[in-house]
């Protein structure tokens, strides 16, 4: 599953609700240009919305970096990496469970984002910030 080439397309700094919309719009237009189906666009942009909101709400600020990927067999994909220096997550497994929330929300954000993409990776520790990456491949 190792992408042979990763080209960074753009980066969006996330610190307000407006930034979440900007992140969504930019990912959507890149996916559109790459030829993803409307359903794939909707799923990934929804995941982007959940993850970008997590950054803004839990960490206050962070970034989303977006990469265009090409595998050796020419499959194209997109990867979005969300990074913040916020409080981090104590128990990642628990945080991914449906209904888990520290802020009285529905608790669908993180676990939901995982369900919406092909690949999901999270790295976090208390006091160390959080990095979440999601990928979707064009088939």
């Amino acid at each position: 599953m190792k992408p042979t080439e990763n080209n960074k397309s753009f980066e969006v700094s996330l610190s307000s609700y407006e930034d979440i919309i900007l992140a969504r719009q930019k990912v959507k237009s890149l996916m559109q240009a790459m030829g993803f189906s409307l359903l794939a666009q909707t799923r990934i942009v929804t995941a982007v919305s959940e993850l970008a909101r997590n950054v803004v709400i839990h960490a206050g600020r962070g970034t989303m970096s977006v990469y265009e990927m090409i595998k050796t067999n020419n499959t194209k994909g997109i990867k979005c990496i969300f990074e913040d220096q916020g409080p981090g997550i104590q128990d990642i497994e628990q945080a991914l469970k449906e209904g888990f929330s520290t802020l009285k929300s529905l608790g669908l954000g993180l676990g939901g984002a995982k369900k919406l993409c092909n690949e999901f990776h999270i790295d976090s520790a208390p006091g160390k910030g959080t990095t979440v990456s999601i990928s979707e491949w064009l088939r």
Binding site: I21, L22, L39, T42, V45, R53, E98
Partner: protein, 134 residues
């Protein structure tokens, strides 16, 4: 760039037609504009005494867990103010995404379009008038 963002976050028009309120969401709502819209809808119900509320999301390309919850909440609030809510025009991609996300919105009345939503409201509010009379 900034200018572009602002344009996509314009106001949402709230239409009052007969005893119904229709809210066509034509812009991308961020969290605060969505909350503001919720308040405005409740104010409009208070002012007009509307019995039905149709929220048209046919132009909405993304409903995430925040907006989904807000819509469900809005319907509950409207109900407490005596108005029934029908969510109209959800796109199939949005539906598939919501189900994957685990957000079922079970408590919401839904319709394919505004016309269907109006006939659902007719049923819902008509039924209530009858029970009130009894």
């Amino acid at each position: 760039m900034k200018k572009d963002i602002r344009r996509t976050m314009g106001e949402v028009t709230i239409l009052s037609i007969g005893s119904n309120i229709i809210v066509p969401i034509q812009v991308e709502l961020h969290d605060n504009t969505a909350r503001k819209l919720q308040t405005e809808i409740l104010e409009k119900i208070e002012k007009t005494g509307a019995k039905g509320l149709i929220i048209d999301v046919s132009a909405v390309s993304i409903i995430d867990s925040f907006l989904g919850r807000l819509l469900v909440e809005t319907a509950k609030m409207a109900k407490l103010m005596g108005a029934e809510t029908v969510l109209a025009g959800m796109k199939k991609e949005v539906v598939l995404t919501l189900i994957s996300l685990g957000l079922t919105m079970k408590t919401l009345h839904t319709a394919l379009n505004i016309e269907d939503a109006l006939s659902i409201l007719e049923c819902l509010t008509g039924k209530r008038d009858e029970t009130n009379r009894k």
